[in-house]
């Protein structure tokens, strides 16, 4: 992260979009860590008499059908949604990198078997795969995160394998083997560090898509049980009130959109930096 920050800082003047994106991400992450600092309203207890109030000074995002402050629900829902997205990325990154590393380094029949398996995963649309997995696992935010992570495993495996193939025959790797290092030591000390860059950049780019996927599943009702707020379920709850309360689905939806955009901008910057490094 600090690496990313220095890179972004050094190029901030050249790309103001990065600065804006960084600010958005910082604010949202602050919401996730210390929601109490941003709103004084209780996210789950509302005032029924104040139901469906449009946005104003007291309620920045308006209120929902039970008179709960929507800004408070959005802010308090951030933690759950962002954590789910990070968990999904970790699942995809660890499992995908593991598969790619083994396939790329060992090659031969192991490579064939693992890559055909990832082909199967790639053939199924990601969201559909997540739906199938979450149906099998059951409802809940953690399960949604795991399901989304599993759907992204194949992409990570592919990128990691291609990187491993690139460095596997590099002179320093062969030198290490000739010097008598064991296979595991070679993989961990020489192959993994030199192959990890583009995979980490991919993680940053994928984060936006993963947040969308987590929100989509929670929109469909697979996520946290009400009244716990979550970005996707906030948008979903507003569906029945679209005609009378435009703010209900719109404002939480805009928060998701801006955050995903900002993550995307930062992720692409990181990927570009990764390329110029090479």
């Amino acid at each position: 992260m600090t690496h990313l920050l220095t890179r972004v800082r050094t190029r901030a003047l050249a790309r103001p979009a990065d600065l804006v994106a960084l600010a958005v991400v910082a604010v949202v992450l602050a919401w996730a860590l210390i929601p109490g600092l941003f709103t004084g309203y209780d996210p789950v207890t509302g005032v029924p008499a104040d139901r469906l109030r449009p946005p104003d000074g007291a309620h920045w995002f308006g209120t929902d059908h039970l008179g709960r402050d929507l800004f408070a629900r959005t802010v308090h829902g951030t933690s759950l949604s962002v954590r789910a997205a990070l968990l999904a990325i970790v699942v995809a990154l660890v499992a995908g990198s593991g598969i790619g590393l083994v396939a790329g380094f060992l090659g031969g029949p192991v490579d064939d078997a693992l890559m055909r398996a990832t082909d199967v995963l790639l053939a199924i649309p990601g969201l559909l795969l997540s739906l199938a997995v979450v149906t099998a696992l059951g409802f809940g935010t953690v399960k949604v995160a795991v399901a989304v992570g599993i759907a992204s495993v194949a992409t990570f495996a592919r990128v990691m394998r291609s990187q491993v193939l690139r460095v596997r025959h590099a002179t320093y790797v062969e030198a290490a083997r000739l010097a008598g290092s064991g296979r595991a030591a070679v993989v961990l000390r020489h192959v993994l560090p030199n192959a990890a860059g583009p995979v980490l950049a991919l993680a940053a780019v994928e984060l936006g898509a993963v947040i969308l996927a987590v929100s989509a599943l929670s929109f469909l009702g697979y996520g946290a049980t009400p009244p716990t707020p979550e970005w996707g379920s906030l948008v979903a709850e507003g569906r029945d009130y679209l005609a009378v309360a435009w703010w209900y689905s719109t404002l939480p939806g805009l928060v998701i959109a801006f955050f995903v955009l900002a993550i995307g901008v930062l992720g692409r910057t990181l990927a570009r930096e990764g390329r110029t490094d090479r």
Binding site: V44, L66, A243, V244
Partner: protein, 557 residues
């Protein structure tokens, strides 16, 4: 034998066209026309959209948006309102319950005799009724239908089976006479014969596989026949030619007006209302308060009728802590502000529950003194029972937090919001109500294994015997309680009581006793809230507040 042949004269009706029955004598027709003209002149109930409707015009397709997917199309097996909207049109029942008076009137049976001890019910069937496959409806079909429900079908048709509890056999002395025999007095059975659950289906349907029947393998004698049914998507039914046996409460005799009805499932209430306003639907179910302006703004109107039966309740599983403590259950009774539920997330059509029976059920007794919202009292009950407020506001006893999980399915669109608000109210008295939404199949599993704290449901029935069906330890008994000497005897006695006043008294005692023991936490009375476009007329509710399409018609150009 008590002869209870109902008279055929037409009582005063609430809508102008009802009196124009083809059966009536010419003089009566003239009188009816005068009455109709007079009523139309003073703006009858059908003219809410402005101009008084013209005469019914046959033809056209009615597009109806259901709020939830039907369970299937077999009248005897289904229980949810949306399923019955479809299934009711396919089959008729022995009797009909007048929605205005609650009286039982002839339908497939033109008369009936009931033995003094309420164990033998003899039905004299109407002549000339045929099923949609052309075969005549005879007493053998009645026997086959009831034998099936009391036998193998019973497992998948719990409601119908409960109506036939104690069923011994159906005797068929001749083709048009069927005598249903019970081993014990059965005061509820006559009303039960008017329900969709005991609709008469053909003998061949009675032998079909229950799962296939749900998917459409049903042959009935109703005004419509099933064209197609796609699970979770919808159904199409078409008019049947030669339908000549509409009940007295129907506004016209003969074939239905509509050619076709297309039911589709649209879970979002806003989409349903928007679809009605933009002419994608002609009628929509479950109109929620926020959608009423949109429906009325597009020239339509919202038809409402309260459902009789057990209102929406939270029924506790008394074998699991903390609900095994009667004091906790008593605290829940007074800890919920029912008026606020209705005002905040429901509409004017709905009423706060005031008993374990809805106020439109015969035998209902007002118990609102036991259900008055009193958070201080609720807090005091819990304090006295040893539940002390913990650091996060949730009460604790012996290290266990006061967490109660409610199991529900979204059969009614407003359920989630109602339960969220109830949870918010209960949190104020230190009770943590957790919501657990399940699919219908998962709920059946949970119910069979007793895996729930509170079970959220309602049952519609225009007879107080629904209390026995739901609360007797010999019946559904969602509370999983042991037989007792207070509730069970009352529920059994009312079933054998022929005198209506004495039966009402027993039912009133039962309602009080059920609430005293906290065996149900009533929330609100369900109402059907149907949005229709301005050019749709004649859509009617039966006595159980389910839709009848026989009289419905759309203005044709």
């Amino acid at each position: 034998m008590v002869r209870t042949r109902p008279h055929h004269t037409t009582p005063a009706r609430t809508t102008p066209h009802r009196t124009a029955s083809h059966r009536a004598a010419p003089a009566a027709v003239a009188a009816a026309l005068v009455a109709a003209l007079a009523l139309t002149g003073c703006a009858g109930p059908d003219s809410a959209s402005g101009a008084a409707p013209a005469d019914p015009t046959p033809g056209g397709t009615l597009r109806f948006a259901l709020g939830a997917p039907p369970q299937g199309v077999d009248p005897q097996q289904v229980g949810t309102n949306v399923s019955i909207y479809v299934a009711r049109q396919l089959a008729d029942s022995l009797t009909d319950q007048d929605p205005a008076t609650g009286e039982i009137e002839p339908w497939l049976a033109e008369s009936w005799d009931v033995s003094e001890d309420l164990t033998r019910f003899t039905f004299h069937l109407r002549d000339g009724v045929t099923f949609s496959d052309g075969s005549p409806l005879t007493a053998d079909d009645v026997r086959a239908s009831f034998d099936a429900v009391a036998g193998e079908l019973g497992a998948t048709a719990p409601l119908a089976a409960s109506y036939l509890a104690g069923y011994e056999k159906t005797e068929v002395p001749d083709e048009r006479t069927a005598t249903v025999v019970f081993d014990a007095p059965n005061a509820q059975f006559l009303q039960a014969t008017s329900t969709v659950s005991l609709a008469i289906l053909s003998e061949q349907t009675a032998q079909a596989d229950p799962a296939e029947r749900l998917q459409g393998d049903v042959v009935g004698s109703g005004p419509f026949v099933l064209e197609s049914y796609t699970q979770d998507q919808g159904a199409v039914i078409t008019r049947r030619e030669g339908y000549e046996w509409a009940p007295e409460s129907s506004e016209h005799e003969g074939d239905a007006y509509l050619d076709r009805i297309e039911f589709s499932v649209v879970p979002e209430s806003g989409v349903r209302a928007g679809g009605l306003a933009s002419d994608q639907f002609d009628a929509v179910g479950d109109v929620l308060p926020q959608d009423v302006p949109q429906v009325e703004g597009s020239g339509g109107e919202v038809l409402t009728r309260a459902n009789p039966g057990v209102p929406f309740v939270l029924q506790p599983n008394v074998t699991r802590p903390p609900l095994d403590d009667p004091e906790v259950r008593r605290a829940l009774l007074v800890g919920i502000d029912r008026q606020e539920l209705v005002d905040t997330v429901l509409s004017d059509a709905f009423r706060p529950a005031t008993s374990v029976l809805a106020s439109t059920t015969p035998g209902y007794a007002d118990q609102s003194d036991q259900l008055a919202f009193d958070p201080d009292e609720a807090g005091k009950i819990l304090d006295d029972a040893g539940w002390t407020t913990g650091p996060d506001g949730i009460r604790v006893k012996d290290g266990e937090p006061l967490e109660i999980e409610v199991t529900y399915t979204p059969v009614f669109t407003g359920s989630g919001a109602v339960l969220e608000l109830a949870a918010q109210q209960l949190r104020a008295i230190g009770v943590d109500l957790l919501l657990r939404q399940l699919t219908a199949a998962e709920q059946t599993t949970a119910q069979e294994s007793g895996d729930y704290d509170l079970y959220y449901y309602n049952v519609t029935r225009a007879d107080a015997d629904i209390l026995r069906t739901q609360f007797s330890t010999a019946q559904r008994n969602l509370s999983l309680r042991e037989p007792d000497d207070a509730v069970d005897p009352l529920l059994d006695e009312q079933l054998g009581e022929a005198d209506p006043a004495a039966r009402d008294a027993l039912v009133a005692d039962a309602q009080r006793e059920i609430l005293d023991q906290g065996l149900a936490v009533p929330l609100f009375e369900l109402a059907q809230s149907i949005g229709v476009r301005g050019d749709v007329h004649g859509l009617a509710f039966d006595a159980s507040s389910r839709l009848l399409f026989h009289d419905a018609w759309i203005e044709q150009d």
